[in-house]
Each structure stands twice: as C-alpha cells, then as structure tokens.
C-alpha cells in the first residue's frame, strides 16, 4: 500500500468536494428556479410567461381542424428563451418563438406577405416545402417561425393574427 500513499486522502478530498458541487447543482435551482434551462413541458400557453419571461404570440385565428388546445407547449430558457407551441388535430400548426436575436434562416425563394391589419407582424416571409407551409414573422423584437399543413390562405391569417397571449385574454 506504500506505493499508493495518500490516495485514500485524495479520495476523501474528492468525495467531499464532489458532494459540495452536487449540493450546488441541486440547491441552486431550489433557491432560483429560473436557472433551470429546460426544456419545460407546460400544461397551457398561460404558463409560458412565467417560464419564458415574455407573453408568447399566439394566433386568434385557429381553424377547428387544429383541435381545441395545443398538444405540446415547451419552453427552453437558454441561450435565449424559446417557446414552441404545437397544435395537432386533423391539421397541425407549429409555432416556435423567441425574443430578440437575429432573424431565423429563410430560403431565397421565400415570398413576402404584406400584412396591413393593425397589430399584425411588421414583416413576414413564407415558402412551401411539400405540403407544409413555412413562415417567418417579426413582431416588435419577437421572431416567430411557423410550420403548418393548413392551406396557404389560412396560414397567412394565422400569421396575420399573431398577438401576445396576454392581449387575447
């Protein structure tokens, strides 16, 4: 055992240090739950603001074919808070949203929607990929990516009617 002199001490030192680190890992989120980065699976869009720090944009035009309520609401906090809301009925609608940052990538063949309705996103571009309509819209400093198999006109109305959830209540 003389050849491994001091190793027992080292293991004790490491054990104590790692227990302290584990206590930090588990204790910090108890004191400040916001340090958890997620992803968090939420019950409803109403909880999003508490986790993401902003009220998500949701469309007040939602065809009945999407179902009554979203099947997934997910928030990831870092590196920047992101919200993903997914409706799935006969048709689907997927919204992914974040506050700030650069614009999401848009292909060159994307076309522009001019949305004149007051309160609508300031800019929106869309394109098709198979049966799916993709769109990227900016409202203030919020960027929203939309994917849906709704007809293009309905997809446009979805984007046009994106408003903060707080304002829709």
């Amino acid at each position: 055992m003389a050849r491994f002199r001091g190793i027992a001490t080292l293991l004790v030192v490491f054990g104590v240090l790692f227990l302290l680190l584990r206590a930090l890992h588990l204790g910090v989120p108890l004191l400040y739950p916001k340090v958890l980065q997620g992803p968090f699976s939420l019950e409803s869009v109403a909880e999003v603001e508490e986790y993401a720090g902003f009220s998500p944009l949701v469309p007040f035009f939602r065809p009945a074919t999407l179902g009554e309520r979203p099947v997934h609401v997910t928030v990831t906090r870092r590196p920047r808070a992101r919200v993903a809301v997914f409706w799935q009925g006969e048709r689907f609608l997927y919204l992914e949203e974040r506050e700030g940052g650069g614009p999401p990538p848009v292909p060159e063949n994307a076309r522009e929607w001019s949305l004149a309705t007051p309160g609508a996103p300031e800019e929106a571009r869309w394109w098709r990929q198979g049966r799916t309509v993709h769109a990227v819209a900016r409202r203030g400093d919020h960027w929203v990516e939309v994917r849906t198999d709704l007809p293009a006109d309905d997809a446009r109305r979805v984007v046009e009617t994106l408003r903060p959830y707080r304002d829709l209540l």
């Binding site: 030192v13 240090l17 400040y32």
Partner: protein, 320 residues
C-alpha cells in the same frame, strides 16, 4: 440547440464550442486545483518534483476532460454531476448574471497576462551590446556541463539579467547585463551561472515549453495563471537546489547556498516594489536556500501520482 448562456445565439458554431470548452477547462482546473491543493496541504507535501507534477496535471488534465465531458453527459448535461450553466445563470444586480462576472474575470486575467508577461517579453527584449565578454567569464561558463559551446552575450536594456536561451540540443546562449559583473561577486556569479545551467536540461526545457503552450491556450483562466507561476517558482527552487548541490556541475566544488541567496537578494533589491509576485518568489527562493523550506523530489511514489491523474480523468468530465 441548447447552448451556453455565456454566448448569444447567432455566433459561429466553432466559436460557441471553443468558448464552452475554455469555460469547462477553467472550471475543471479550478476543481482539480482545489482538490490537489487540499490534498497536498493534508499530506504536507514539500517543494520538489512531486509538486511540479501535480501543478502540471492541473494545467494539462482539464484540457482533456473538458473535451470529453459533452460526449459523456450529452449536450443537455442531463447526466452531469454539476451543470455549471445553473450557476452561470444565477442573477446578480443590475440585470447581470454570474456568466457576465465570469466573462469579466476572464478578460481581466487575459489583460493581466498580456501586460505582465507577454507584451514585456516582446517589448522589453534585451538588446545585445556587442561588447566583448571577459575571458574568465567565458571560461567559467564553458566549464559547466553541456555548455562547452555556449555563446555569452552582454545585453543592454534590462538590469541584473542572467538568462539562458536556445533549445537544449542546440547551441546554448547566455545573456548577461553588464551590471551583473559589477554588482555580484565571483562566488555569487558562479552560483547564478550554475542555476542557469541547471535550467538547461531537455526535460525541463520541454516541460516548461509544453506547459507554457497550455497556459497560452488558457490565457483567460485565472487558475492557469496561478498554476503556471507556481510551477515556474517550483522550477526555480529545483534549479537553485541543483546549483548549490553541484549535481550537474563539473569538477569544481559547488558554490554555497549563501552565495546564491546573496545574489538573489541583490536581484530582490533591484526589483520594482510593484512587482509583488516577483519579489515574493525571490523571498521564497532565499528561504529555501537558507533551509527554511522543505524540499524533496519524490515525496510521493509515482503510483500515487498516476492514481491521482486517473481520478481526475474519471471524475472531472462529469462536471459540465
């Protein structure tokens, strides 16, 4: 993608991966440094080769464990023992987070390293004066082992400078400022020359250069700054010891420890008072020469050192 709160999204993926790796290296070196420091205190390890190897491990092992971490615990860090992103996201005052503090500490550390070490190395390079060297000095230098072909240069621009250069297998160079010849006695100068000669071994040269490269990669890591300075101090202690022990010396009797200590005190008096780290290192070297610091090259068996490195390699990747 789940990324790092230190960085905004939209940056190049390589930059994100590089910054994340650097942060993990700093974190791992902090944990390894704390554990090994506590261990060496507990065992009361004396100065010597064992301590140098432990310092080298703190500088090198985290570079491997930081790279291995994501592969083991996944990018999300679900299996991590400690997910440091939780700590980095802790809020501070004025909307700042711990992550901002970490970035600021990294910038300050890099600035200190640049101002104190890297810029002076280029801007304050001693210039060769071209003056002839005294014959007795040339003879004394070339009588030392491995320095039979050593070239001696007198330099201007740096007071009380004695430094070696050149790779260990090549032709060695010795730089001296002229005031060394007037302010040090022959005994003191002989001790200083033996000290410089002790630096000039392949193992020490390669180890120091490898660690310096690792330290340059970790320019913003305060632990690396401290560890490298500590390593160089330990190396100076070892070379002092070799110089007065005459382990590598030729037939002449080795100089006394007191002569080298007097030379160091002369350098100490000529060192700027603001250079606190430099003066502290000189004080410690004098203490060691006067027998006030314990020194032992093999204070731990190699098996213990290898086991310590294995423990670091196995444990650190779980901290992300």
């Amino acid at each position: 993608m789940i990324g790092d709160p230190l960085l905004e999204d939209g940056v190049l993926p390589g930059t994100l991966a590089g910054a994340t790796w650097l942060w993990r290296v700093a974190l791992h070196s902090f944990v390894a440094g704390t554990a090994l420091y506590a261990w060496s205190r507990r065992l009361e390890l004396p100065a010597g080769r064992t301590r140098r190897l432990l310092l080298a491990a703190v500088l090198l092992v985290p570079m491997a464990t930081a790279a291995a971490g994501p592969a083991l615990v996944g990018e999300g860090g679900d299996a991590a023992w400690l997910d440091s992103r939780r700590l980095l996201a802790l809020p501070l005052a004025f909307g700042l987070q711990v992550a901002d503090l970490v970035v600021a500490a990294g910038v300050v550390t890099a600035a200190i390293a640049l101002v104190q070490e890297i810029l002076p190395a280029f801007l304050e390079r001693p210039r060769r004066s071209g003056d002839p060297i005294p014959l007795w000095l040339g003879r004394e230098v070339r009588s030392l082992p491995g320095w039979e072909r050593c070239t001696v240069h007198l330099v201007v621009g740096r007071p009380l400078l004695v430094a070696t250069g050149g790779p260990p297998r090549g032709r060695p160079h010795l730089h001296l400022s002229p005031d060394v010849l007037t302010r040090l006695s022959r005994d003191e100068l002989a001790a200083v020359l033996r000290h410089e000669n002790a630096h000039h071994t392949p193992r020490r040269w390669w180890a120091l250069h490898l660690l310096f490269a690792a330290r340059l990669l970790q320019l913003a890591n305060p632990v690396a700054l401290w560890v490298f300075r500590r390593y160089t101090l330990e190396l100076e202690l070892a070379c002092d010891r070799d110089a007065v022990a005459g382990r590598r010396a030729a037939a002449e009797p080795p100089p006394t420890a007191k002569a080298l200590a007097r030379a160091l005190l002369t350098v100490y008096e000529g060192t700027d008072r603001r250079d606190v780290a430099g003066r502290e290192a000189l004080r410690r070297r004098v203490d060691a020469l006067l027998g006030r610091v314990r020194f032992e090259d093999r204070s731990l068996p190699p098996e213990s050192l290898a086991a310590a490195v294995v423990v670091l390699l196995l444990a650190l990747p779980w901290i992300v």
